[in-house]
């Protein structure tokens, strides 16, 4: 039915099967859209956020999707700047994942602000000292870059490519893609960092406040580093999932292995930096502000459950050191199970890191007579957070079906007549 649109040389399931498969995802998407509309029309009273928990699930989701979307900028950086040419076989997918992550982040932000109709004031009345301004600028610019990187992919659709103008545009865009990618890498470094800065500059919140280097707190560098380290994990994870669902090998092992190796070393070095940061924070920063380390993790009964030491262990050891060690060993990363374990743990690890940086400072009292707060998101928050996942699945499915995402697919999956 839609065979004219499907790339040459690949096999896709029939349209009805495709639609049937997507239906449940679309239903989830609609649920999310409904929740989103509720939030827009009725306001943020639809959430369980409150004056203590002004930043909550959504901000975490934002930070998390941007961190795991970091695979796009980092593989772009590796390919276009450091010349790792093998990565061209996965870069399309990394770009697509990045595009989904970043558009999701923007959507969530648009729901999260109390006055979305005025959100452009962040540009118009920009306060250049605010990390959030830096985030907004870099985020939207980098989203533009990702769009520019994604457009040629769309234009390469078999049918569109037949139009000369479109063909020329996509061709010419490829021509100067390195310039865009470089700009994107620059922007991305900054906004990943400034997202870290968002938390690190809060000098009223000892849990997240960090000492500064120039104008940036430690977290600035840790966030960039961790996004670069864990972003590729997510790219590999999604690639593997896609391969699992389609039942096809889409990217050659050497490509994956290369990306995994780089990711592994990044994680390994990052986690060392993170441990040093944690140590310094616990032994120097916190005591100067009148806190002992345990104040951060031992609140009342319920808060320990949500904000106890286990989080720190999970983030640093379980989802940091372990995936790092797996991925830097050639033997282990070429073991399919271990590789999957490592990239899964890595993805969880970076999300956990973002979780603690957003949720813990909100939960923790700073005034001595204040108390720990516990927050459980409302269904509207959960639905709008799942919404991007559904949207991502749909966009990946459509893109995979109609666009030549994986250059190695034809070679790896020859069609037997």
């Amino acid at each position: 039915m839609d065979s004219a649109l499907i790339p040459k040389g690949v096999k896709r399931c029939s349209l009805p099967v495709f639609i049937a498969g997507l239906t449940p995802v679309v239903l989830v998407l609609l649920w999310g859209v409904y929740a989103m509309l509720l939030c827009w029309l009725k306001g943020l009273n639809q959430t369980n956020m409150n004056d203590s928990y002004g930043f909550a699930l959504w901000i975490w989701a934002d930070l998390a999707v941007i961190a795991i979307g970091g695979g796009a900028f980092f593989s772009g950086l590796l390919k276009y700047i450091f010349g790792k040419d093998e990565l061209k076989n996965i870069i399309n997918y990394a770009v697509l994942i990045g595009f989904i992550c970043y558009s999701s982040a923007l959507l969530i932000l648009a729901i999260d602000v109390g006055q979305p109709l005025r959100s452009w004031f962040i540009f118009w009345h920009a306060n250049v000292h605010s990390m959030l301004t830096e985030v907004a600028f870099c985020l939207s610019c980098y989203f533009a870059v990702l769009t520019i990187e994604y457009i040629p992919l769309i234009l390469e659709n078999r049918k569109l490519d037949e139009i000369p103008l479109i063909h020329n545009i996509s061709h010419n865009m490829h021509g100067i893609m390195a310039v865009f990618a470089a700009t994107g890498a620059f922007l991305s470094c900054f906004h990943q960092g400034s997202l870290g800065g968002v938390a690190g500059v809060l000098y009223g919140r000892p849990y997240v406040f960090r000492e500064h280097i120039l104008v940036w707190p430690w977290t600035f560098f840790l966030f960039t580093w961790s996004a670069a380290a864990f972003g590729p994990c997510f790219t590999i994870l999604i690639t593997k999932i896609t391969e699992g669902i389609t039942g096809k090998k889409l990217v050659k092992d050497n490509v994956i292995s290369l990306l995994a190796k780089i990711s592994g070393w990044m994680i390994f070095t990052y986690i060392i930096a993170k441990i040093i940061d944690t140590f310094y924070w616990a032994t120097v920063t916190a005591p100067e502000l009148g806190f002992v380390w345990s104040d951060f993790f031992t609140g009342d009964r319920s808060s320990v459950l949500f904000h106890g030491y286990w989080l720190l262990f999970a983030e640093i050891v379980l989802c940091g050191i372990i995936p790092g060690l797996i991925l830097i060993s050639k033997k282990h990363r070429e073991n399919k199970t271990l590789l999957l374990t490592a990239v899964t743990l890595g993805t969880i690890g970076v999300c956990l890191n973002r979780w603690t940086m957003v949720m813990q400072p909100m939960a923790m009292p700073v005034m001595t007579f204040d108390s720990w707060n516990l927050y459980i998101p409302s269904w509207q928050e959960v639905a709008t957070t799942i919404l991007p996942v559904a949207y991502g699945i749909i966009l990946i499915a459509i893109s995979f079906r109609y666009l030549p995402i994986f250059p190695q697919e034809v070679e790896l999956n020859p069609i037997k007549e």
Partner: protein, 55 residues
């Protein structure tokens, strides 16, 4: 964002920060304009077979 909004100050912060923004936007804008103009030219004003096709 612009020098005519009242919170604007001509200080290092604004110059570096806004400079960065306009620089990035500039690259993207010029880059895309270049691509479009070039493509339109190639499509409508030149022989469309004139360039080497790489796929």
């Amino acid at each position: 964002m612009f020098w005519f909004s009242f919170e604007w100050v001509w200080d290092m912060g604004h110059i570096v920060f806004m400079g960065g923004l306009w620089y990035a936007l500039g690259i993207l804008g010029i880059g895309m304009s270049y691509v479009i103009i070039k493509s339109v030219k190639e499509t409508f004003y030149e022989d469309s077979t004139g360039h080497g096709d790489n796929h």
